[in-house]
């Protein structure tokens, strides 16, 4: 596991503009997910929340398409990723959070619970 030592756990949350069609939304997700894997990162989990109303208007829009991605990557990937997202005009807002060990545990537990709920 020597190569895994410099990988950090991150979580990316993006709000896309609500005008995107279903296919465009999927395409945009794939674009960023691929960008991370191309730069030597690993996708842990992704979760598209879909259309949600915002707590306050952003860019005169009251709804947004939420997308959540947890991944492992080296530290330099985030800066590159941010440039890519700033360039993309479909992205209204993005945030990268670094996850500590408790957060990873929490997310894994939450995912398992969701998986159980859907199967049961």
């Amino acid at each position: 596991m020597a190569t895994n030592n410099n990988l950090q756990n991150y979580e990316l949350m993006v709000i896309f503009t609500p005008v995107l069609a279903e296919d465009d939304f999927k395409g945009a997700q794939k674009k960023f997910a691929d960008f991370i894997t191309e730069n030597g990162g690993k996708i842990v989990h992704q979760d598209a929340w879909g259309l949600r109303s915002l707590a306050y208007p952003i860019a005169k829009k009251t709804t947004g398409l939420y997308w959540l991605l947890s991944y492992q990557a080296t530290t330099d990937v985030n800066a590159k990723l941010e440039i890519q997202m700033n360039r993309d005009e479909n992205v209204m807002r993005q945030m990268v959070t670094r996850l500590d060990k408790y957060a990873v545990e929490y997310n894994a537990k939450k995912r398992n619970k969701l998986a159980e709920a859907t199967t049961a």
């Binding site: 709000i15 707590a55 306050y56 947004g64 500590d100 408790y102 957060a103 545990e105």
Partner: protein, 88 residues
């Protein structure tokens, strides 16, 4: 001069014993404060969406800081409002 013991009350005095506050994170064993869970974070906000102080929530300093960070992240991602009326 009446001594303290001489004072008689018509009804028995009721001394209210307030319940001790506690840090819910420590008590429930929560170690990560999730910024995505807006409903949970609302417990630490007042009607206007402002953070409640520690003396009211009873959080330990460590977790009050984590809550503050989570609330700020949730606000940034439009899960919680910055300013509002009649939140909750």
């Amino acid at each position: 001069m009446a001594k303290q013991n001489d004072i008689k009350f018509l009804t028995s005095t009721r001394v209210e014993k307030r319940q001790k506050k506690y840090c819910r994170f420590k008590k429930m064993g929560i170690r990560y404060v999730d910024y995505k869970d807006a409903e949970f974070l609302k417990k630490f906000l007042n009607e206007q969406g402002k953070m409640l102080p520690r003396r009211i929530t009873g959080n330990s300093l460590k977790f009050q800081r984590k809550v503050a960070q989570a609330v700020k992240k949730a606000r940034q991602m439009a899960l919680l409002p910055y300013v509002t009326d009649l939140l909750k």
